[in-house]
Protein backbone atom coordinates (compact mmCIF):
# COMPACT_ATOMS: atom_id res chain seq x y z
CA UNK A 1 0.00 0.00 0.00
CA UNK A 2 1.21 3.45 -0.88
CA UNK A 3 1.25 6.35 1.57
CA UNK A 4 -1.53 8.16 -0.34
CA UNK A 5 -3.73 5.06 -0.11
CA UNK A 6 -2.97 4.69 3.57
CA UNK A 7 -3.98 8.32 4.17
CA UNK A 8 -7.10 7.95 2.08
CA UNK A 9 -8.07 4.76 3.92
CA UNK A 10 -7.48 6.51 7.25
CA UNK A 11 -9.85 9.32 6.21
CA UNK A 12 -12.51 6.88 5.02
CA UNK A 13 -12.30 5.03 8.33
CA UNK A 14 -12.44 8.23 10.36
CA UNK A 15 -15.48 9.62 8.56
CA UNK A 16 -17.18 6.24 8.92
CA UNK A 17 -16.56 5.96 12.64
CA UNK A 18 -16.94 9.63 13.60
CA UNK A 19 -20.42 10.88 12.75
CA UNK A 20 -19.57 14.47 13.72
CA UNK A 21 -16.40 14.72 11.62
CA UNK A 22 -16.30 17.18 8.72
CA UNK A 23 -13.64 17.45 6.05
CA UNK A 24 -13.22 20.78 4.29
CA UNK A 25 -10.89 21.97 1.60
CA UNK A 26 -10.50 23.30 -1.88
CA UNK A 27 -11.44 20.82 -4.62
CA UNK A 28 -11.67 17.90 -2.19
CA UNK A 29 -14.91 16.46 -3.55
CA UNK A 30 -15.26 13.80 -6.23
CA UNK A 31 -14.58 13.24 -9.02
CA UNK A 32 -11.44 15.35 -8.45
CA UNK A 33 -10.81 14.16 -4.89
CA UNK A 34 -8.23 16.80 -3.97
CA UNK A 35 -5.18 18.12 -5.78
CA UNK A 36 -3.24 15.05 -4.64
CA UNK A 37 -6.27 12.70 -4.69
CA UNK A 38 -6.01 12.06 -0.95
CA UNK A 39 -9.72 12.69 -0.41
CA UNK A 40 -10.87 10.54 -3.31
CA UNK A 41 -14.19 8.81 -2.73
CA UNK A 42 -14.96 10.62 0.52
CA UNK A 43 -17.59 13.05 -0.75
CA UNK A 44 -19.41 10.28 -2.57
CA UNK A 45 -19.79 8.36 0.68
CA UNK A 46 -20.25 11.33 3.02
CA UNK A 47 -21.68 14.14 0.90
CA UNK A 48 -22.96 16.19 3.83
CA UNK A 49 -19.69 16.20 5.71
CA UNK A 50 -17.07 16.44 2.96
CA UNK A 51 -17.24 19.91 1.50
CA UNK A 52 -15.36 21.63 -1.28
CA UNK A 53 -14.82 25.25 -0.35
CA UNK A 54 -13.96 28.52 -2.02
CA UNK A 55 -10.28 29.49 -2.10
CA UNK A 56 -10.39 30.81 1.45
CA UNK A 57 -7.80 29.13 3.68
CA UNK A 58 -8.41 31.58 6.49
CA UNK A 59 -12.17 31.06 6.50
CA UNK A 60 -12.17 27.30 6.15
CA UNK A 61 -9.75 26.98 9.05
CA UNK A 62 -12.08 29.26 11.01
CA UNK A 63 -15.05 27.10 10.03
CA UNK A 64 -13.19 24.05 11.34
CA UNK A 65 -12.54 25.92 14.58
CA UNK A 66 -16.24 26.80 14.80
CA UNK A 67 -17.21 23.16 14.33
CA UNK A 68 -14.69 22.17 17.00
CA UNK A 69 -16.01 24.85 19.32
CA UNK A 70 -19.51 23.43 18.87
CA UNK A 71 -18.19 20.03 20.00
CA UNK A 72 -17.72 18.44 16.58
CA UNK A 73 -14.48 17.56 14.85
CA UNK A 74 -12.99 18.75 11.59
CA UNK A 75 -10.18 18.17 9.13
CA UNK A 76 -9.06 20.93 6.79
CA UNK A 77 -7.02 20.23 3.69
CA UNK A 78 -4.81 23.13 2.67
CA UNK A 79 -4.10 22.38 -0.98
CA UNK A 80 -0.44 23.38 -0.71
CA UNK A 81 1.03 23.78 2.77
CA UNK A 82 2.53 27.07 1.61
CA UNK A 83 -0.99 28.53 1.82
CA UNK A 84 -1.25 27.68 5.52
CA UNK A 85 0.23 31.12 6.07
CA UNK A 86 -3.20 32.42 5.03
CA UNK A 87 -4.73 30.45 7.91
CA UNK A 88 -2.13 31.52 10.46
CA UNK A 89 -4.44 33.89 12.33
CA UNK A 90 -7.21 31.35 12.73
CA UNK A 91 -4.76 28.68 13.81
CA UNK A 92 -2.52 30.67 16.12
CA UNK A 93 -4.77 33.44 17.41
CA UNK A 94 -8.02 31.59 17.57
CA UNK A 95 -7.98 27.79 17.43
CA UNK A 96 -4.85 27.14 19.47
CA UNK A 97 -5.56 29.94 21.92
CA UNK A 98 -9.14 28.87 22.50
CA UNK A 99 -7.85 25.72 24.16
CA UNK A 100 -6.75 27.76 27.16
CA UNK A 101 -7.51 31.48 26.84
CA UNK A 102 -11.01 31.20 28.23
CA UNK A 103 -9.76 30.08 31.62
CA UNK A 104 -10.82 26.45 31.45
CA UNK A 105 -9.78 23.91 28.85
CA UNK A 106 -11.90 24.03 25.69
CA UNK A 107 -11.51 20.85 23.62
CA UNK A 108 -10.73 21.73 19.99
CA UNK A 109 -10.69 18.62 17.84
CA UNK A 110 -9.35 19.78 14.50
CA UNK A 111 -6.54 18.84 12.15
CA UNK A 112 -5.12 20.97 9.37
CA UNK A 113 -3.50 18.83 6.68
CA UNK A 114 -0.66 20.46 4.77
CA UNK A 115 1.00 18.86 1.76
CA UNK A 116 4.54 20.23 1.79
CA UNK A 117 7.94 19.82 0.23
CA UNK A 118 9.66 20.21 -3.11
CA UNK A 119 11.19 17.90 -5.65
CA UNK A 120 8.32 18.27 -8.05
CA UNK A 121 9.25 21.51 -9.75
CA UNK A 122 6.34 23.52 -8.39
CA UNK A 123 8.52 26.52 -7.59
CA UNK A 124 9.02 28.92 -4.69
CA UNK A 125 5.41 29.20 -3.42
CA UNK A 126 4.30 25.59 -3.87
CA UNK A 127 7.30 23.65 -2.58
CA UNK A 128 8.08 24.86 0.92
CA UNK A 129 8.25 22.94 4.16
CA UNK A 130 6.96 25.53 6.60
CA UNK A 131 6.93 23.38 9.75
CA UNK A 132 9.27 25.72 11.58
CA UNK A 133 6.82 28.62 11.45
CA UNK A 134 4.28 26.68 13.51
CA UNK A 135 6.65 25.61 16.30
CA UNK A 136 6.18 26.80 19.84
CA UNK A 137 2.54 27.83 19.72
CA UNK A 138 0.81 26.89 22.99
CA UNK A 139 -2.07 24.54 22.22
CA UNK A 140 -0.88 23.64 18.72
CA UNK A 141 0.72 20.24 18.06
CA UNK A 142 2.58 19.35 14.87
CA UNK A 143 2.75 15.93 13.21
CA UNK A 144 4.29 14.62 10.01
CA UNK A 145 3.20 11.71 7.87
CA UNK A 146 5.74 8.93 7.59
CA UNK A 147 5.77 5.67 5.67
CA UNK A 148 6.36 3.90 8.98
CA UNK A 149 3.23 4.70 10.93
CA UNK A 150 -0.37 3.98 10.03
CA UNK A 151 -2.13 7.29 9.50
CA UNK A 152 -5.31 6.00 11.14
CA UNK A 153 -3.26 5.85 14.34
CA UNK A 154 -1.84 9.31 13.76
CA UNK A 155 -5.31 10.83 13.32
CA UNK A 156 -6.62 9.00 16.39
CA UNK A 157 -3.76 10.41 18.44
CA UNK A 158 -4.25 13.94 17.09
CA UNK A 159 -7.97 14.02 17.85
CA UNK A 160 -7.39 12.51 21.28
CA UNK A 161 -5.24 15.53 22.15
CA UNK A 162 -8.35 17.72 21.87
CA UNK A 163 -6.26 20.58 20.60
CA UNK A 164 -5.61 21.79 17.06
CA UNK A 165 -2.97 19.84 15.17
CA UNK A 166 -1.20 20.44 11.89
CA UNK A 167 -0.32 17.35 9.87
CA UNK A 168 2.49 17.89 7.39
CA UNK A 169 2.55 15.51 4.42
CA UNK A 170 5.58 15.52 2.18
CA UNK A 171 4.20 15.34 -1.35
CA UNK A 172 6.94 13.01 -2.60
CA UNK A 173 5.83 10.44 -0.02
CA UNK A 174 2.37 10.00 -1.49
CA UNK A 175 3.53 7.56 -4.17
CA UNK A 176 5.93 5.66 -1.89
CA UNK A 177 5.12 2.29 -0.34
CA UNK A 178 4.38 1.96 3.37
CA UNK A 179 6.73 0.13 5.73
CA UNK A 180 9.58 -0.55 3.31
CA UNK A 181 13.23 -0.01 4.13
CA UNK A 182 16.23 -0.97 2.00
CA UNK A 183 18.31 -3.99 2.96
CA UNK A 184 20.14 -4.57 5.18
CA UNK A 185 18.20 -2.25 7.46
CA UNK A 186 15.34 -3.35 9.63
CA UNK A 187 12.24 -1.41 10.63
CA UNK A 188 10.99 -1.60 14.18
CA UNK A 189 7.39 -0.86 15.06
CA UNK A 190 6.87 2.68 16.36
CA UNK A 191 7.32 3.10 20.11
CA UNK A 192 4.73 4.58 22.47
CA UNK A 193 5.39 8.04 21.05
CA UNK A 194 4.89 6.86 17.48
CA UNK A 195 8.60 7.12 16.68
CA UNK A 196 9.75 4.43 14.26
CA UNK A 197 13.33 3.14 14.35
CA UNK A 198 15.35 1.79 11.44
CA UNK A 199 18.68 0.15 12.19
CA UNK A 200 20.99 -2.72 11.36
CA UNK A 201 20.15 -6.02 12.97
CA UNK A 202 23.17 -5.81 15.20
CA UNK A 203 22.35 -4.58 18.69
CA UNK A 204 25.66 -2.74 18.80
CA UNK A 205 25.86 1.01 19.35
CA UNK A 206 25.77 2.80 15.98
CA UNK A 207 28.25 5.45 14.90
CA UNK A 208 25.43 7.97 14.94
CA UNK A 209 21.73 8.48 15.43
CA UNK A 210 19.85 10.35 12.72
CA UNK A 211 16.50 11.94 13.46
CA UNK A 212 14.43 12.67 10.38
CA UNK A 213 10.70 13.20 9.96
CA UNK A 214 8.73 11.22 7.40
CA UNK A 215 9.32 13.40 4.38
CA UNK A 216 13.09 12.99 4.37
CA UNK A 217 13.24 9.47 5.79
CA UNK A 218 13.71 7.86 2.39
CA UNK A 219 16.58 10.18 1.47
CA UNK A 220 18.14 9.55 4.85
CA UNK A 221 17.89 5.79 4.39
CA UNK A 222 19.55 6.10 1.00
CA UNK A 223 22.38 8.03 2.65
CA UNK A 224 22.59 5.50 5.48
CA UNK A 225 22.97 2.73 2.93
CA UNK A 226 25.75 4.43 1.00
CA UNK A 227 27.50 5.43 4.24
CA UNK A 228 27.40 1.80 5.35
CA UNK A 229 28.57 0.35 2.05
CA UNK A 230 31.14 2.98 1.16
CA UNK A 231 32.39 4.21 4.53
CA UNK A 232 31.26 1.49 6.94
CA UNK A 233 29.48 4.13 8.97
CA UNK A 234 26.57 2.65 10.89
CA UNK A 235 23.56 4.87 11.50
CA UNK A 236 20.31 4.34 13.36
CA UNK A 237 17.36 6.33 12.08
CA UNK A 238 14.53 7.66 14.23
CA UNK A 239 11.39 8.87 12.48
CA UNK A 240 9.18 10.77 14.90
CA UNK A 241 5.48 11.15 14.19
CA UNK A 242 4.96 14.20 16.37
CA UNK A 243 7.28 17.08 15.54
CA UNK A 244 6.12 19.38 18.32
CA UNK A 245 6.07 19.19 21.28
CA UNK A 246 9.13 17.05 20.58
CA UNK A 247 10.00 14.11 22.78
CA UNK A 248 12.40 11.30 22.06
CA UNK A 249 13.81 8.22 23.63
CA UNK A 250 17.35 8.45 22.31
CA UNK A 251 19.05 5.10 21.61
CA UNK A 252 22.75 4.68 22.39
CA UNK A 253 24.98 6.84 20.19
CA UNK A 254 27.28 9.78 20.80
CA UNK A 255 26.67 11.65 17.58
CA UNK A 256 23.23 12.93 16.61
CA UNK A 257 22.06 14.43 13.32
CA UNK A 258 18.69 16.00 12.55
CA UNK A 259 17.54 16.08 8.94
CA UNK A 260 14.70 18.18 7.52
CA UNK A 261 13.74 19.74 4.22
CA UNK A 262 12.94 23.16 5.65
CA UNK A 263 15.37 25.91 4.77
CA UNK A 264 18.12 27.16 7.09
CA UNK A 265 17.41 29.37 10.08
CA UNK A 266 15.09 28.90 13.07
CA UNK A 267 14.60 25.27 12.13
CA UNK A 268 12.74 22.34 13.65
CA UNK A 269 16.15 20.72 13.99
CA UNK A 270 17.27 23.53 16.27
CA UNK A 271 14.33 22.73 18.55
CA UNK A 272 15.17 19.02 18.47
CA UNK A 273 18.81 19.81 19.22
CA UNK A 274 17.79 21.87 22.23
CA UNK A 275 15.66 19.02 23.60
CA UNK A 276 18.51 16.55 23.11
CA UNK A 277 21.17 18.84 24.53
CA UNK A 278 19.06 19.43 27.62
CA UNK A 279 18.66 15.71 28.31
CA UNK A 280 21.81 14.11 26.90
CA UNK A 281 24.56 16.73 26.77
CA UNK A 282 26.93 14.64 28.86
CA UNK A 283 26.96 11.67 26.54
CA UNK A 284 27.39 13.50 23.24
CA UNK A 285 30.77 13.89 21.51
CA UNK A 286 29.65 17.16 19.96
CA UNK A 287 26.52 19.27 19.60
CA UNK A 288 23.72 17.88 17.44
CA UNK A 289 24.44 18.50 13.75
CA UNK A 290 21.64 20.05 11.69
CA UNK A 291 21.08 19.04 8.08
CA UNK A 292 18.56 21.10 6.13
CA UNK A 293 17.93 22.83 2.83
CA UNK A 294 19.85 25.96 1.87
CA UNK A 295 18.90 29.46 2.98
CA UNK A 296 17.07 30.13 -0.26
CA UNK A 297 13.75 30.22 -2.04
CA UNK A 298 13.06 26.94 -3.78
CA UNK A 299 13.70 27.41 -7.52
CA UNK A 300 11.55 25.79 -10.16
CA UNK A 301 14.13 24.49 -12.67
CA UNK A 302 15.21 21.01 -11.57
CA UNK A 303 18.95 21.71 -11.63
CA UNK A 304 18.45 24.78 -9.43
CA UNK A 305 15.96 23.08 -7.12
CA UNK A 306 18.42 20.23 -6.55
CA UNK A 307 21.04 22.70 -5.37
CA UNK A 308 18.75 24.04 -2.66
CA UNK A 309 16.89 21.03 -1.30
CA UNK A 310 18.40 18.58 1.12
CA UNK A 311 19.22 15.31 -0.70
CA UNK A 312 20.62 11.90 0.10
CA UNK A 313 23.93 13.27 -1.13
CA UNK A 314 23.79 16.18 1.31
CA UNK A 315 23.00 13.88 4.20
CA UNK A 316 25.80 11.46 3.25
CA UNK A 317 28.31 14.28 2.92
CA UNK A 318 27.47 16.00 6.21
CA UNK A 319 27.51 12.77 8.22
CA UNK A 320 30.75 11.59 6.59
CA UNK A 321 32.49 14.94 7.09
CA UNK A 322 31.31 15.25 10.66
CA UNK A 323 32.34 11.75 11.68
CA UNK A 324 35.48 11.36 9.60
CA UNK A 325 36.59 14.93 9.05
Amino acid sequence: MRVAENLNAALHGLLERTPDLHLLGEDVTDPYGGAFRITRGLSTRFPERVLSTPISENAITGVAAGLALAGESAIVEIMFGDFATLAFDQLVNFAAKSVSMYGSRVPMRMVVRCPVGGGRGYGPTHSQSLQKHFLGVPGLALYEVSPFRDNAEVFAEMFARQEPCVLFEDKVLYTRPMYQVPAPFRLEQPDGRGTARVSLDAAAEPDCVVIAAGGVAERTLEAMRSLLLEQEIVCTLLVPSRLYPFEVELPPGRQVFVVEEGTAGGTWGAEVAHVIHSAHWGRLDRPVTLVHSADSVIPTAPHLEREVLVSAGTIHRVIQETLRG
Partner: protein, 304 residues
Protein backbone atom coordinates in the same frame (compact mmCIF):
# COMPACT_ATOMS: atom_id res chain seq x y z
CA UNK B 1 -22.22 56.66 7.91
CA UNK B 2 -23.23 57.61 11.43
CA UNK B 3 -26.65 58.74 12.43
CA UNK B 4 -27.03 62.43 11.81
CA UNK B 5 -27.57 63.51 15.39
CA UNK B 6 -30.25 66.12 15.60
CA UNK B 7 -30.14 68.36 18.61
CA UNK B 8 -31.86 66.70 21.52
CA UNK B 9 -34.88 69.00 21.45
CA UNK B 10 -35.65 68.05 17.83
CA UNK B 11 -35.31 64.29 18.30
CA UNK B 12 -38.70 62.59 18.09
CA UNK B 13 -39.97 60.87 21.24
CA UNK B 14 -39.00 57.26 21.86
CA UNK B 15 -41.64 54.62 22.49
CA UNK B 16 -42.01 53.56 26.09
CA UNK B 17 -39.37 50.98 26.98
CA UNK B 18 -40.12 47.97 29.16
CA UNK B 19 -38.82 48.36 32.69
CA UNK B 20 -36.42 45.47 32.13
CA UNK B 21 -34.99 46.97 28.94
CA UNK B 22 -34.37 50.36 30.46
CA UNK B 23 -32.81 48.77 33.54
CA UNK B 24 -30.49 46.69 31.34
CA UNK B 25 -29.53 49.70 29.22
CA UNK B 26 -28.72 51.71 32.31
CA UNK B 27 -26.93 48.77 33.89
CA UNK B 28 -24.55 48.53 30.91
CA UNK B 29 -24.02 52.30 30.93
CA UNK B 30 -23.23 52.20 34.65
CA UNK B 31 -20.84 49.28 34.11
CA UNK B 32 -18.85 51.13 31.44
CA UNK B 33 -18.72 54.37 33.44
CA UNK B 34 -17.51 52.40 36.43
CA UNK B 35 -14.70 50.90 34.33
CA UNK B 36 -13.51 54.34 33.23
CA UNK B 37 -13.65 55.47 36.84
CA UNK B 38 -11.64 52.46 38.01
CA UNK B 39 -9.09 53.12 35.27
CA UNK B 40 -8.83 56.70 36.39
CA UNK B 41 -8.05 55.46 39.89
CA UNK B 42 -5.39 53.11 38.57
CA UNK B 43 -7.36 50.04 39.67
CA UNK B 44 -7.52 48.31 36.26
CA UNK B 45 -4.73 46.60 34.38
CA UNK B 46 -4.12 46.69 30.63
CA UNK B 47 -6.82 48.21 28.50
CA UNK B 48 -10.53 48.07 27.87
CA UNK B 49 -12.94 49.24 25.21
CA UNK B 50 -16.24 50.64 26.39
CA UNK B 51 -19.46 50.57 24.39
CA UNK B 52 -20.78 53.91 25.68
CA UNK B 53 -23.48 55.04 23.24
CA UNK B 54 -23.94 51.56 21.72
CA UNK B 55 -25.61 49.82 24.67
CA UNK B 56 -29.02 49.71 22.98
CA UNK B 57 -27.84 47.46 20.14
CA UNK B 58 -27.53 44.19 22.11
CA UNK B 59 -30.42 45.18 24.37
CA UNK B 60 -32.69 45.60 21.35
CA UNK B 61 -31.51 42.33 19.81
CA UNK B 62 -31.66 40.17 22.93
CA UNK B 63 -35.34 39.15 22.72
CA UNK B 64 -34.89 38.33 19.04
CA UNK B 65 -32.28 35.76 20.04
CA UNK B 66 -32.92 32.31 21.41
CA UNK B 67 -30.99 30.61 24.24
CA UNK B 68 -29.80 28.07 21.65
CA UNK B 69 -28.22 30.80 19.53
CA UNK B 70 -24.50 31.43 19.67
CA UNK B 71 -23.32 35.00 20.13
CA UNK B 72 -19.85 36.12 18.99
CA UNK B 73 -18.50 39.39 20.19
CA UNK B 74 -15.40 41.48 19.73
CA UNK B 75 -13.05 43.81 21.58
CA UNK B 76 -15.94 46.15 22.47
CA UNK B 77 -18.11 43.46 23.95
CA UNK B 78 -19.18 44.32 27.51
CA UNK B 79 -22.67 45.31 26.41
CA UNK B 80 -23.05 42.16 24.34
CA UNK B 81 -22.06 40.03 27.32
CA UNK B 82 -24.21 41.85 29.84
CA UNK B 83 -27.26 41.72 27.56
CA UNK B 84 -26.78 37.98 27.22
CA UNK B 85 -25.76 36.98 30.73
CA UNK B 86 -26.65 39.90 33.08
CA UNK B 87 -23.50 39.22 35.03
CA UNK B 88 -21.64 42.42 35.90
CA UNK B 89 -19.90 40.71 38.83
CA UNK B 90 -18.34 37.98 36.69
CA UNK B 91 -17.31 40.41 33.95
CA UNK B 92 -15.78 42.97 36.29
CA UNK B 93 -13.99 40.19 38.17
CA UNK B 94 -12.64 39.00 34.81
CA UNK B 95 -11.41 42.48 33.92
CA UNK B 96 -9.90 42.96 37.39
CA UNK B 97 -8.46 39.43 37.71
CA UNK B 98 -10.46 38.69 40.86
CA UNK B 99 -12.21 35.61 42.21
CA UNK B 100 -15.42 34.84 40.36
CA UNK B 101 -13.95 35.92 37.01
CA UNK B 102 -15.85 34.40 34.05
CA UNK B 103 -12.65 33.11 32.46
CA UNK B 104 -10.35 32.99 35.46
CA UNK B 105 -8.76 36.31 34.50
CA UNK B 106 -6.99 34.73 31.53
CA UNK B 107 -9.12 36.29 28.83
CA UNK B 108 -9.80 39.73 30.29
CA UNK B 109 -12.03 42.27 28.65
CA UNK B 110 -11.66 40.97 25.08
CA UNK B 111 -11.67 37.17 25.43
CA UNK B 112 -14.76 35.90 27.16
CA UNK B 113 -16.49 32.59 26.82
CA UNK B 114 -19.56 31.53 28.70
CA UNK B 115 -21.87 28.85 27.38
CA UNK B 116 -22.81 30.01 23.89
CA UNK B 117 -21.24 33.44 24.17
CA UNK B 118 -17.68 34.01 22.96
CA UNK B 119 -15.56 37.05 22.22
CA UNK B 120 -12.16 37.41 20.58
CA UNK B 121 -9.79 40.32 20.20
CA UNK B 122 -8.79 40.10 16.54
CA UNK B 123 -10.90 42.01 14.03
CA UNK B 124 -13.06 39.88 11.77
CA UNK B 125 -11.67 36.63 13.17
CA UNK B 126 -14.93 35.44 14.67
CA UNK B 127 -16.90 35.54 11.42
CA UNK B 128 -15.45 32.36 9.89
CA UNK B 129 -15.71 30.68 13.29
CA UNK B 130 -19.36 31.68 13.46
CA UNK B 131 -19.84 30.15 10.01
CA UNK B 132 -18.50 26.88 11.41
CA UNK B 133 -20.88 27.06 14.34
CA UNK B 134 -23.73 27.94 11.96
CA UNK B 135 -22.84 24.92 9.83
CA UNK B 136 -23.11 22.80 12.97
CA UNK B 137 -26.41 24.38 13.98
CA UNK B 138 -27.94 23.95 10.55
CA UNK B 139 -27.37 20.21 10.83
CA UNK B 140 -27.64 19.53 14.55
CA UNK B 141 -30.00 22.21 15.87
CA UNK B 142 -32.09 23.57 12.99
CA UNK B 143 -33.71 26.88 13.82
CA UNK B 144 -30.81 28.17 15.92
CA UNK B 145 -28.45 30.83 14.56
CA UNK B 146 -24.98 32.29 15.07
CA UNK B 147 -24.94 36.04 15.71
CA UNK B 148 -21.70 37.96 15.23
CA UNK B 149 -21.07 41.54 16.30
CA UNK B 150 -18.52 43.41 14.22
CA UNK B 151 -17.74 47.06 13.61
CA UNK B 152 -17.32 49.25 10.56
CA UNK B 153 -13.56 48.91 10.96
CA UNK B 154 -13.78 45.10 10.69
CA UNK B 155 -14.59 45.52 6.99
CA UNK B 156 -10.89 46.05 6.35
CA UNK B 157 -10.32 42.36 7.10
CA UNK B 158 -10.45 39.71 4.39
CA UNK B 159 -11.89 37.19 6.85
CA UNK B 160 -15.17 39.14 6.74
CA UNK B 161 -15.51 38.66 2.98
CA UNK B 162 -14.47 35.02 2.99
CA UNK B 163 -17.10 34.39 5.64
CA UNK B 164 -19.89 36.35 3.92
CA UNK B 165 -19.20 34.37 0.77
CA UNK B 166 -19.41 31.05 2.62
CA UNK B 167 -22.52 32.03 4.57
CA UNK B 168 -24.33 32.93 1.38
CA UNK B 169 -23.07 29.92 -0.60
CA UNK B 170 -24.01 27.47 2.12
CA UNK B 171 -27.22 29.21 3.30
CA UNK B 172 -25.93 29.39 6.85
CA UNK B 173 -28.04 30.71 9.73
CA UNK B 174 -25.67 33.63 10.29
CA UNK B 175 -26.68 37.04 11.63
CA UNK B 176 -23.99 39.69 11.21
CA UNK B 177 -24.59 42.75 13.34
CA UNK B 178 -22.51 45.71 12.25
CA UNK B 179 -22.19 48.46 14.80
CA UNK B 180 -21.14 51.28 12.53
CA UNK B 181 -20.08 53.92 15.02
CA UNK B 182 -18.39 56.03 12.39
CA UNK B 183 -14.90 55.56 13.71
CA UNK B 184 -12.31 52.79 13.79
CA UNK B 185 -10.07 53.56 16.76
CA UNK B 186 -9.09 57.07 15.54
CA UNK B 187 -9.84 56.74 11.82
CA UNK B 188 -13.19 58.05 10.55
CA UNK B 189 -15.09 55.35 8.68
CA UNK B 190 -15.03 57.46 5.52
CA UNK B 191 -11.23 57.27 5.51
CA UNK B 192 -11.14 53.48 5.84
CA UNK B 193 -14.12 52.17 3.95
CA UNK B 194 -14.72 52.65 0.22
CA UNK B 195 -18.20 52.05 -1.10
CA UNK B 196 -20.76 51.03 1.49
CA UNK B 197 -21.59 48.22 3.87
CA UNK B 198 -24.91 47.73 2.09
CA UNK B 199 -22.99 47.31 -1.16
CA UNK B 200 -20.83 44.65 0.41
CA UNK B 201 -23.87 42.65 1.56
CA UNK B 202 -25.42 42.97 -1.90
CA UNK B 203 -22.22 41.74 -3.53
CA UNK B 204 -22.55 38.44 -1.70
CA UNK B 205 -26.30 38.13 -2.09
CA UNK B 206 -26.71 38.56 1.66
CA UNK B 207 -29.90 40.16 3.00
CA UNK B 208 -29.30 43.62 4.44
CA UNK B 209 -31.13 45.87 6.89
CA UNK B 210 -30.18 49.32 8.10
CA UNK B 211 -31.38 51.13 11.17
CA UNK B 212 -30.49 54.43 12.74
CA UNK B 213 -33.00 54.10 15.53
CA UNK B 214 -32.00 53.94 19.19
CA UNK B 215 -35.52 52.92 20.21
CA UNK B 216 -35.32 49.29 21.30
CA UNK B 217 -38.99 48.63 20.51
CA UNK B 218 -38.74 50.13 17.04
CA UNK B 219 -35.55 48.21 16.26
CA UNK B 220 -37.18 44.92 17.25
CA UNK B 221 -40.09 45.62 15.01
CA UNK B 222 -37.80 46.58 12.12
CA UNK B 223 -35.62 43.47 12.43
CA UNK B 224 -37.89 40.73 13.77
CA UNK B 225 -38.98 39.16 10.46
CA UNK B 226 -35.51 39.25 8.90
CA UNK B 227 -33.94 37.64 11.99
CA UNK B 228 -36.59 34.91 11.86
CA UNK B 229 -35.63 34.27 8.24
CA UNK B 230 -32.00 33.76 9.30
CA UNK B 231 -33.14 30.71 11.23
CA UNK B 232 -34.34 29.20 7.98
CA UNK B 233 -30.94 29.72 6.35
CA UNK B 234 -31.06 33.26 4.95
CA UNK B 235 -27.94 34.99 6.28
CA UNK B 236 -28.53 38.60 7.24
CA UNK B 237 -26.35 41.64 7.73
CA UNK B 238 -27.81 44.40 9.90
CA UNK B 239 -26.10 47.76 9.98
CA UNK B 240 -26.72 49.92 13.02
CA UNK B 241 -25.79 53.54 12.46
CA UNK B 242 -24.64 54.14 16.00
CA UNK B 243 -22.29 56.33 17.99
CA UNK B 244 -19.27 55.72 20.14
CA UNK B 245 -19.35 58.31 22.87
CA UNK B 246 -16.18 57.28 24.66
CA UNK B 247 -12.60 56.84 23.58
CA UNK B 248 -11.47 53.78 21.62
CA UNK B 249 -9.89 52.41 24.77
CA UNK B 250 -9.01 55.02 27.34
CA UNK B 251 -7.91 58.60 26.93
CA UNK B 252 -7.29 58.19 23.20
CA UNK B 253 -10.11 60.20 21.69
CA UNK B 254 -8.90 62.75 19.18
CA UNK B 255 -12.34 63.92 18.04
CA UNK B 256 -13.17 67.61 18.54
CA UNK B 257 -15.40 68.54 21.48
CA UNK B 258 -18.22 69.84 19.29
CA UNK B 259 -18.42 66.53 17.43
CA UNK B 260 -18.69 64.62 20.71
CA UNK B 261 -21.31 67.11 21.88
CA UNK B 262 -23.35 66.42 18.75
CA UNK B 263 -23.07 62.68 19.28
CA UNK B 264 -24.14 62.95 22.91
CA UNK B 265 -27.24 64.89 21.89
CA UNK B 266 -28.49 61.82 20.01
CA UNK B 267 -27.58 59.38 22.75
CA UNK B 268 -30.35 57.02 23.84
CA UNK B 269 -29.51 57.95 27.41
CA UNK B 270 -30.45 61.59 26.95
CA UNK B 271 -33.53 60.77 24.94
CA UNK B 272 -34.99 58.21 27.34
CA UNK B 273 -34.19 60.62 30.20
CA UNK B 274 -36.09 63.35 28.41
CA UNK B 275 -39.09 61.21 27.47
CA UNK B 276 -39.52 59.12 30.65
CA UNK B 277 -37.85 61.22 33.34
CA UNK B 278 -39.25 59.71 36.51
CA UNK B 279 -38.73 56.08 35.65
CA UNK B 280 -35.37 56.90 34.11
CA UNK B 281 -34.07 58.69 37.19
CA UNK B 282 -35.19 55.89 39.47
CA UNK B 283 -33.67 53.10 37.33
CA UNK B 284 -30.51 55.07 36.65
CA UNK B 285 -30.00 55.64 40.36
CA UNK B 286 -30.55 51.93 41.03
CA UNK B 287 -28.12 50.94 38.27
CA UNK B 288 -25.40 53.24 39.57
CA UNK B 289 -25.90 52.09 43.15
CA UNK B 290 -25.80 48.47 42.14
CA UNK B 291 -22.66 49.00 40.07
CA UNK B 292 -20.94 50.85 42.91
CA UNK B 293 -21.71 47.91 45.18
CA UNK B 294 -20.45 45.41 42.56
CA UNK B 295 -17.22 47.36 42.12
CA UNK B 296 -16.65 47.51 45.85
CA UNK B 297 -17.35 43.82 46.26
CA UNK B 298 -15.19 42.69 43.34
CA UNK B 299 -12.26 44.97 44.21
CA UNK B 300 -12.20 43.47 47.69
CA UNK B 301 -12.02 39.88 46.40
CA UNK B 302 -8.85 37.79 46.23
CA UNK B 303 -7.00 37.24 42.96
CA UNK B 304 -8.48 34.92 40.35
Amino acid sequence: MTAAAPALEHAPPLTEPAEEDLALLLGIRAFELTLLDLFGKGMLNGTTHTCLGQEYVPVALEPLLDPRDHVFSNHRGHGHYLARHRDPEGLLAEIMGRRGAVCGGVGGSQHIRRERYLSTGVQGESLPVACGVALHLRRAEPGALACVYIGDGSFGEGAVYEALNLASLWSLPLLVVVENNGIAQSTPTADGLAGSIAGRAAAFGVEYRHTDSVDVNVIREQLGPAVRAVRAGAPLLVEFATRRLGPHSKGDDTRPAEQLERLRAGDWYQRYARDYPERFQRLDRQARERMAAVAEDVAARGLS
